[in-house]
Amino acid sequence: MVASTDYLLAVEGLTVSFDGFRAVDDLSFYVDKNEIRVIIGPNGAGKTTVLDLICGRTKATGGSVQFKNRELLKMREDQIVHAGVGRKFQTPSIYDDLTVFENLELSTPGSYTVFGALAFKRTGEVIARIEEIAEMIFLSDLLDQKAALLSHGQKQWLEIGMLLIQDPELLMLDEPVAGMSVAERKKTAELLNTITKGRSVLVVEHDMKFVEDIAHKVTVLHQGKILAEGSMDAVQADPKVIEVYLGH
């Protein structure tokens, strides 16, 4: 097993195979506290799978994922969330039949058990916190709207808000600006700038402009393995990366 480290997240030898196909192959990388790490790579490189493995959605075949020196691979999804890992999905993953307010309310930490949820009381504090988050994600006026009626960009913001209210130490975002208009993209970049302060972020993104704006360090994946890792400039200059990814 891995020795105790100072890293917030230490991924070592992570492997998953689906019917013999190794989607992620002996992958190792480390994320520091307060670091913003972007994973890029061509389609099918295993980027989303890496996030799925860390948050417990997909079970790994081998390796280890240590978060604050706790092994995540043995935990259930909800336990991983309680440990401090939050996940945003590629397509907006929100509760269509509930209002924006209710979406945020269910994402508020606490009363996770059945009886806790039965006894839960909507206090002024909870309402105030939800209103504060709604303000940040530009949805103050739409709190009582059914989430199904939001635009695509608004749904993305709502899901970011749902993560924000969870207040995770590690935030994992899967293509947060995909499918957004230019104006929405700009607002989202601002939003991400404020919410990434004081926490570590792991982002999967295709939009190179956006990556340049936010990344501290970039990991390039190719066929489930790391092709290159380093600063954006170093990675962009790497001939191997240009060959398989950026050159296209």
Binding site: E77, Y95, L98, D144
Partner: protein
Amino acid sequence: MSDVSTPDPRQSRLFTASELLGYLVLAAVIFIVLPSVLDAFRLNLFGKYLSYAFVAIGLVLCWGVGGILSLGQGVFFGLGGYCMAMFLKLEASTPENTSIQSTPGIPDFMDWNQLTELPWWWVPFNSLTFTVVAIVVVPVILAFIIGFAMFTRRVGGVYFAIITQAIAAIATILIIGQQGFTGGVNGITDLRTLMGWDIRPDSAKTALYFVNGVLLFAVLFVAHMILKSKAGRLMIAIRDREDRVRFSGYNVANFKIFVFCAGAAFAAIGGAMFTLQVGFISPTLVGIVPSIYMVIFCAVGGRLSLLGAVYGALLVNWAQTTFSESFPELWLLAMGALFIAVVMAFPLGLAGLYDDYLKRHIDRLLAPVDRMMMRRAARKTSPKAPAPTAQAAE
């Protein structure tokens, strides 16, 4: 934060004015209208229909709100009914009443099957207290075992429906096969008294109808509380997007197990009331066909509406009685056609029609009452209340 004069619509309230009106109307129908227009025989029939409404209410929670379709609710209905019947049968099987048997003092069907003493697991059903507890606890334990086995393994959707249907089939086969212990295909019949009170005359049946009505409202209230709680909103979220709920930090399986157990408990109470009002229980009420009927009651009434489920159970059963009295061979076809029509044309059932065409007008009429209720609720929980102790005292 919220001024008392402009109440916050997000302040959680147990009832809105239109919900309250809905319950009052149902109470009027059950406690005033039906008893005054129906003779004792028909009222007893409606009592039987209402015992199915308990199951339909449970299905609203499980299937409508939680997205868990169970095609085996008859098992829980039957367990409740059998528990009640075991108590009543033991009371009816006094040594004096059964003196012609080769072993007097045990239920007649046991004697016919050459049993010479009461099986050990029948003995506790001599106690009414034990029986009342067992009516709820036995089905809940079974539901917990099924739910735990299925939901922690993430079995859901159509697979869960098929498995519950198989369980319903197994339960029927088991009951029929173990004739000496269960009364077999005839069920448990010839029930007479409850703690010495004869349940057979019309007066007793009418009294039981009212007991049934009161219990129905108790169950409705509990279901309403669950739906209005955060757990209720979580069930909707789980139906919408189970994955997201996990990544919001909830153990989804526990919520599914809970709601499945609640549905089982409600069904079992209905089953016990069925036995009391109809005077027998048999495996025909446990198997696949009755379980699917129960889903149809819920679908016709509206699977998202607790009140809809009650009306659905009443209406479909009433239609069945009326229709099958005149055209017995056509009834099954009509039932099938009704189910298809509901699913195709109005998937939210009667309650959906009400929401689409009537609710708007009723809400408008009730708006002043609603505002008044909101203000009262706000006053109770308003942060303006001077000391927290004053709030606690309320």
